[in-house]
């Protein structure tokens, strides 16, 4: 497969997934576009490393995560909670509370819950033990629960 076709294939297969993850974590559209392009550049540059991963998707997650982490470690602002009266009203602003989580937690919840990627695959992509990821997942859910219902 030529490089041109390979990029076309990645764009078709993972384009939406990568862009949605970028949009979820980076709210600024200009930066989202920029990070998206950097991710694709890295996918093309590091294509030889696919062999080190069990699935192509875990390799994509690894690159996606590395680039998002690089960007967010410099740009993430942990804002304060919106003072709302009751849990139902807070649930209306779920997106806001979700953004208050750390980038790692947001990414993990998205991958696991929205995209249904199993823990072992995420663990392999991020070079982390599965048990640590499960613990992190639980902590993230508990944090959200506390913010909304406490």
């Amino acid at each position: 497969m030529t490089k041109k076709k390979q990029i076309e294939y990645w764009l078709l297969t993972y384009g939406n997934f990568i862009f949605e993850c970028c949009t979820a974590l980076i709210k600024d559209p200009k930066n989202t576009h920029w990070v998206f392009q950097i991710i694709f550049k890295n996918l093309s540059l590091k294509s030889k490393k696919i062999k080190q991963f069990p699935t192509e998707r875990s390799w994509v997650i690894k690159i996606l995560w590395d680039q998002l982490h690089n960007f967010l470690s410099q740009n993430h602002i942990h804002s304060l909670k919106k003072p709302t009266l009751n849990p139902q009203a807070r649930l209306q602003h779920f997106d806001f509370y979700f953004q208050n989580l750390s980038p790692e937690d947001q990414m993990l919840l998205l991958l696991k819950q929205k995209y249904q990627i199993p823990f072992f695959e995420i663990a392999f992509a991020l070079h982390l033990p599965e048990s640590s990821l499960k613990f992190q997942y639980q902590q993230a859910l508990k944090m959200l629960e506390l913010w909304i219902w406490a």
Partner: protein, 134 residues
Amino acid sequence: MGINCFKWQNQLSDYLDHSLPQALEKEINDHFNQCKKCHALFKHYQILMTQITELSFSPLPSELKKKSFSHFSGLFHFFTFSSRWKLPWYLQTFFKLTFFLGGIFFILSIAPNIHEWLKKFFTLFNSKKFPYFF
């Protein structure tokens, strides 16, 4: 071994995934029937999971798709031999090595003249003294 509030929360992710052994899952369900607090907590987690699943984001704009594609394909067509010429690996290596060594030879060959060029450059701008900074 009975399940308490602390134990089931430790296995929360597996429970939500339905990856626990059936007996343990049944024990946790029994615990929910007894402990209203844990049951409420579980309901909250379910709501949270639904909320995460329902998070919606804007789809990939077609402009960006075209932009990324044209940008990177162009870049790699320029840098990779294989995509353009389909040369065998030994010829690719030969050309790359020749290009690399040629570059080094070129730099080495112009190095002695750099001093002279700088001198000419400064005289062009009528500087009184040539700055001997190296």
